[in-house]
Symmetry: C2
């Protein structure tokens, strides 16, 4: 079966909605946060541990899976679900963002891109058709169009952003042709357009003219400010079809997520809770804690006293976590990643409650971090 999206409630204060997406591998609630299992693995977390955080759907990065172990290898095991033993829903990105942002890009033209593999230096070709074939092999429930995603750097000319919009639509049409098993996997289109509202509007119109089960906002959190992200999201989201899931790719901090939910976004992914967790930064409702700091050395409190994650509930203290990071113990990244993922899923639970009960002001008072400055730039990235 293809995915089925039901909207179960709407906020009367803003454009937020709660809902549920049925997939061939079960249901996930929206607004949803998807942890990033880059190369068909959550870094340092077993599938059981990921499930214990309340996560319902994971993201795999197609480019990483293509390079290692290879998408055909995953297909030999059935799909990413059976390969990594994650029995819930999975979404794959297209590989486009990674090819543009982290790979050694060699050529880019209307057919596709060529880049050097970061695994073995080999030249790798990526086109809409190659991305679709790889995503078909990985077998996620939701797959993403291969799009042209330029960075948001100040020196990127307007012409390049326009080209990306045109090319992304042309590539989406090729993706739709190349992707045939629409019952097993649901293809989402991606809107581009940088920070230019006219281009975003044009991209929405051209992208959504192609009938698809869901649509995403891409090209966000690629280097621009939090305000610029908000402007784009608040402008673009209401233009997307109301009856399809809306996915804001690669965002972000709790504050960004709440802003985007209020604009009508249903799905999120971000490496922040896990990547920062591995680097000893613990998210809390009050804001981040840097656990390498000497001030925690004798602190016997858990990261958050009222947190129900396994790290906090088992009483593992800030002082102990600081010791683990000081000693280079791999248990530290595991324990803080677990906490951070649970923190994000607790945020999503509270967001859904705020939508149902119109309890936005108590959400903001329960989560002081929503009013604080971001500690670091955002990032739509693989782990």
């Amino acid at each position: 079966m293809a995915i089925r999206f039901e909207i179960l409630g709407r906020s009367s204060e803003n454009n937020a909605r709660i809902g549920r997406v049925q997939t061939p591998h079960g249901v996930f609630d929206t607004p949803a946060f998807m942890p990033v299992a880059t190369a068909a693995a959550m870094k340092g977390l077993t599938p059981e541990q990921v499930k214990s955080t309340g996560s319902q759907i994971l993201l795999n990065n197609t480019l990483h899976c293509m390079l290692r172990p290879g998408s055909e290898r995953i297909a030999a095991f059935g799909s990413s679900h059976t390969f990594m033993r994650w029995h819930g829903p999975i979404l794959t990105d297209s590989g486009g963002f990674q090819a543009f942002s982290m790979a050694d890009l060699r050529t880019l033209d209307d057919d596709g891109v060529t880049f050097r593999s970061f695994v073995d230096g080999a030249l790798v070709r990526m086109t809409p058709e190659i991305s679709m074939r790889a995503q078909n092999q990985i077998g996620a429930d939701i797959i993403m169009a291969f799009d042209d995603c330029p960075p948001a750097a100040a020196d990127v000319p307007q012409q390049r952003v326009e080209q990306a919009v045109q090319r992304s639509v042309a590539w989406l049409q090729r993706c739709k042709v190349a992707h045939t098993d629409t019952q097993r996997q649901s293809l989402f289109g991606i809107v581009q357009g940088g920070t230019d509202c006219a281009l975003r509007k044009q991209s929405v119109e051209q992208t959504c003219a192609i009938e698809l089960p869901g649509y995403a906002i891409g090209g966000v959190a690629v280097g621009e400010s939090a305000n610029a992200i908000a402007d784009v999201v608040q402008f673009t989201t209401p233009l997307l079809p109301v009856d399809r899931p809306r996915y804001l790719m690669g965002v972000g901090y709790p504050r960004d997520i709440v802003m985007a939910v209020a604009a009508g976004v249903d799905m999120f992914d971000c490496v922040l809770p896990t990547r920062n967790g591995r680097n000893a930064l613990a998210f809390t409702r009050a804001g981040p804690l840097r656990l390498r700091n000497a001030r925690w050395a004798l602190d016997q409190n858990p990261i958050e006293s009222d947190c129900d994650c396994s790290t906090c509930a088992n009483g593992l203290s800030r002082g102990y976590l600081r010791h683990l990071f000081s000693a280079g113990e791999m248990l530290g990244p595991t324990l803080v990643s677990l906490h951070n993922l649970r923190l994000y899923q607790r945020l999503m639970l509270d967001i859904r409650r705020a939508i149902v009960c119109n309890a936005w002001s108590s959400l903001r008072s329960d989560w002081p971090c929503l009013s604080a400055a971001d500690p670091e730039p955002n990032g739509e990235e693989s782990e």
Copy 2:
């Protein structure tokens, strides 16, 4: 309360016995295998995961805990139990073995040793009194005497081994004087003597003349052959008091453990299941699997099809584990450490069954690895 050791049964075929040790933090069954949580942490495993392997008692390395985070720091949290949130029994080694084997040793005399810290290069002094104070601070249920442990290299003169025997007894007497809270922590003496039976006998007599709740065989698995280990263990173990737990330090492979149990040993620790697990070597009843090998790339079977560890029971395959190690994913070390620890605890369960039922021949047929050659040298070491 001090520990209480009960022998619940004896083999009629050899000197093996099953029993149970009560400690201030609960009971462990013997023969027991203790995983090594070097710096107050199991590498890559949460306390819950360690417990899921059936492990009942852990070992902390005193030298590592002294250097980082500091034994007084652990004391500030109560003890290692509260610091690492392991609520079961804990044993600490004395720090002597690490000071002799892995540290940059500067002086060794009848008072103690001085070495350079591998954390910050500072000169660190270790004496029986300092080891006792550190172990008192760490707060394990069983603590070990500070002993003089020379390597088993061929060029170590007989005189040096004799000196180690004498010095270890003298140091044990100082340890006993320095350790006062015998209700909270039980001090075990350590027999030395290298591979020389006369020296081992002398060491047993002098060590066991000092009344203690348990005794250990040290200076084994420090570089000598498996046959030499067996000779020393089979000679020394029956000389130890029958009514006290007997602990063979740092051993070993499944084959060595079964040999030593048959000689009457009750307690074991070794880094092999976890250190090898981190390096992609999975133990099985049939022998080790090297999971980096390309032959496993498409293998959809778990490490062992009848294993009840969480890795195998959840169906994580050899092919997936190989991918994790190829991609440098930290999840690989976690999953194989979990399997290997459970494999060791399954061995201990089968050993206890063999003792009760005199089922030694079926133990050997169920565990073909007991008859195979060892893949690597043994090691009494920290993680």
